[in-house]
């Protein structure tokens, strides 16, 4: 709404009395800066409730906090090296129980995949026994890519490498989907037999492996 300033005269567009200021009364100062971060309060807060129930809940809360840190669900981040290696730290290390989720209730993609080399020949065997001829194409592609990789990264440009990785990943994915269909049983047994703490192995407890695994070609999100 075009507000005419009244040709130099100060005039309000609304009835100033309705807001509560009398005519000609001094208006309060203009606020020039944001209010203080911790303003003084005129009224002190009411004291907290105290009682048996409250005390018990407080103790429970603190206990729960400590307990949760020791449960297998608490996933530690690898810590930076401490400045002084404390002797007593060894004796205060809390043993964490292992937890294996019920895979029947989770999507299949949740299961950890064995990407390490020693599983390679085994999964290939499973692959061979488990399926028919439809995968010869993908097997060929894989072999070809392996050969190319062996020739060395330095010879290829980055782009080409990425392409190959991309297609390798795609075919790997295709492989794995079909792998799962036919050979899921075998894979699972494999994992059980391989080591006693198979699943736990991929849950690293020390920080050593962190970052060393370059899982799943994170360069491009192909899905």
């Amino acid at each position: 709404m075009a507000g005419n300033k009244g040709r130099g005269r100060a005039a309000y567009t609304f009835n100033i009395e309705a807001v509560g200021f009398g005519r000609g009364e001094k208006l309060p100062d203009v606020v020039l800066k944001p209010p203080p971060l911790f303003p003084d309060t005129d009224y002190k807060p009411v004291p907290l409730k105290a009682g048996e129930g409250e005390d018990y809940m407080l103790a429970l809360k603190q206990e729960l906090r400590e307990t949760m840190k020791r449960m297998p669900y608490y996933i530690e981040t690898p810590e930076e090296k401490q400045d002084i290696e404390r002797y007593s730290k060894r004796y205060m290390k809390v043993y964490k129980e292992e937890w294996i989720p019920d895979w029947r209730r989770l999507p299949r993609e949740m299961m950890p995949r064995k990407k390490c080399k020693k599983a390679g020949p085994k999964s290939e065997k499973a692959k061979d026994t488990g399926k028919g001829t439809s995968l010869t194409n993908t097997a060929d592609v894989l072999k070809k890519i392996e050969e190319l990789e062996k020739r060395g990264d330095g010879e290829k440009s980055d782009e080409e490498n990425e392409e190959k990785e991309g297609s390798k990943e795609k075919s790997k994915e295709g492989d794995e989907e079909e792998d799962d269909d036919a050979a899921e049983q075998e894979e699972y047994d494999e994992e059980e037999q391989e080591e006693e703490n198979d699943y736990i192995n991929s849950y690293f407890e020390d920080g050593d492996d962190f970052g060393a695994d370059s899982d799943d070609n994170m360069d491009e999100a192909t899905y």
Partner: protein, 503 residues
């Protein structure tokens, strides 16, 4: 989800599950439903870690998954469920009051683990209870089972949805994710188990072995060789049922307070006879709080509890109390006045409240800028000219409740941050005191003299002890405050939910 809620969720997830789970969880809360690879890509986390984090979150009912077309599985976080983690102590304490220590531990185990089979819960709880009993005594599985059944009957624990058994032997390609279902009638059905056994005490030899890497132990110890009778039947705590209980408690205690007031003004004896009960009920029905309404005269008078009105009254009382504590009792008077009269002009407020104009104006604006009170414009003319418009002050309870709720979330986030700061500041001292305690404990176990123990204790100087005392006091205060603010959150959320349901 508001920023305040997301921030609070982040703090809660980090405290309970660590930073990796927190990163994934907060990402999902912010972005909504996403598939696995997108999560990994967007958060810059390795696929392996994302999977672990999701497993943990799904186990604790904080994330659900859905299969979309073309077999893509998407994961969605439940922000409000994350916020419920604040209430865990209250759930556990309630179970204790209703079903004593056994009930308390059952609920605690279910909350700590997300979901468990009944046999696992019974075994774990029996073991824990046995630890606390005198030497030679053990807790029988049957007793724990009984309490579990009672909890299921009263709906405090419920079954999780599960994978229905498929009839066909070869279903063709397996689905990318199992579809979990549950029907109403099965939700509280306890499987027929004959759990026989007693709790086991953890032997001291096991404790010594704590430092050794247990990874070398065989995956299946002897206990697990037996087939689990209720395999696949998982139970979880039924939070809604607890909420019902809290709500009932809140209403009962509010009415009880009211009753006390009425009680004092009536000459009645201590045995409640039918006549007196009638009187009480009539009083309650006429009470302006409107908790109880009379809905007919059949059977001598049918009385009904109006839950929505009750929750509304509780929410309003909370608002009034906050205004009083923040702005003073005169402001509170104005607030109650506007609440009662629904709409008031500036002049009318001054007259009714009997407060001088200048102060009344000041107070109204303070409350206005705090969003406890709002202005309603009523134009006299079609051009909405301000000089010819009524401006009425009014209290919109729903929006004020929402504002206060949002503030509560911020408060708790601040409390948690401060507590973490205090703990971090004193980290060195805390670690030192823990080490000293560990040393003393081990020395006591091997039998040391008092003089030696005293020497070790003196490793912590007197001012350090005082510092620790102060820290403990502060942390306790902050923790207790969190619990109390959560009570307010519960009231406000209940009221808002009840109001939204009626719309």
């Amino acid at each position: 989800m508001t920023q305040a809620e997301i921030k609070l969720c982040s703090l809660l997830l980090q405290e309970h599950f660590g930073e990796i789970v927190e990163k994934i969880g907060v990402h999902l809360i912010r972005t909504g439903s996403q598939p696995l690879r997108v999560i990994a890509h967007d958060t810059g986390t390795s696929l392996d870690q994302v999977k672990k984090a999701l497993c943990v979150l799904i186990q604790h009912n904080l994330v659900i998954y859905q299969v979309h077309k073309r077999g893509v599985v998407e994961y969605e976080a439940q922000c409000s469920r994350v916020l419920r983690m604040l209430r865990y102590p209250r759930y556990i304490y309630t179970a204790k009051t209703l079903y004593s220590d056994t009930g308390e531990l059952i609920v605690e185990e279910l909350l700590l683990n997300g979901k468990m089979t009944m046999s696992a819960v019974v075994k774990k709880v029996a073991d824990r209870l046995t630890e606390t009993m005198e030497d030679g005594k053990t807790m029988d599985y049957a007793e724990v089972s009984n309490t579990f059944v009672r909890l299921a009957d009263t709906h405090f624990v419920q079954r999780c949805p599960w994978v229905p058994a498929t009839e066909n032997s070869d279903p063709g390609p397996l689905p990318p994710a199992p579809i979990l279902v549950i029907s109403e009638k099965d939700m509280y059905l306890v499987p027929k188990l004959s759990l026989i056994g007693k709790g086991k005490r953890r032997r001291s030899s096991d404790e010594d072995a704590a430092g050794e890497p247990k990874a070398k132990r065989p995956k299946h110890n002897t206990d697990n060789k037996e087939p689990i009778p209720d395999d696949g039947i998982y139970w979880q705590a039924n939070l809604d049922r607890f909420h019902q209980h809290f709500r009932d408690q809140a209403i009962v205690s509010a009415v009880a307070n009211r009753m006390d007031q009425i009680f004092r003004s009536l000459p009645v004896g201590y045995n409640i006879s039918k006549q007196v009960l009638d009187q009480y009920l009539t009083l309650l029905a006429d009470d302006p709080l409107e908790f109880v309404g009379k809905s007919g005269d059949s059977g001598g008078g049918m009385y009904v509890i109006n839950l929505h009105k009750a929750l509304g009254s509780l929410a309003t009382a909370t608002l009034e109390s906050v205004v009083q504590e923040r702005f003073g009792s005169r402001c509170a008077r104005i607030f109650r006045l506007v609440l009662q009269k629904k709409h008031l002009e500036q002049k009318q407020v001054e007259d009714f409240a009997m407060i001088p104009a200048k102060e009344a104006k000041d107070m109204l604006y303070k409350m206005l800028s705090g969003n406890f009170i709002s202005l309603q414009e009523i134009p006299k003319t079609p051009d909405h000219a301000p000089s010819r418009t009524f401006y009425l002050y009014t209290v919109n309870i729903l929006s004020a409740a929402r504002m206060l709720l949002h503030r509560c979330y911020k408060s708790i986030a601040n409390l948690i941050e401060r507590r973490q700061f205090e703990t971090k500041e004193n980290k060195r001292l805390l670690e030192k005191s823990q080490r000293v305690e560990a040393i003393i404990a081990s020395m006591q176990a091997t039998g040391a003299e008092d003089a030696q123990l005293q020497e070790i204790e003196e490793m912590i100087t007197v001012p350090e002890r005082q510092q620790l005392e102060t820290l403990k006091r502060n942390v306790n205060k902050l923790d207790a405050s969190e619990i109390q603010v959560d009570e307010t959150i519960f009231l406000l959320e209940s009221y808002i939910e009840s109001t939204m349901k009626r719309q």
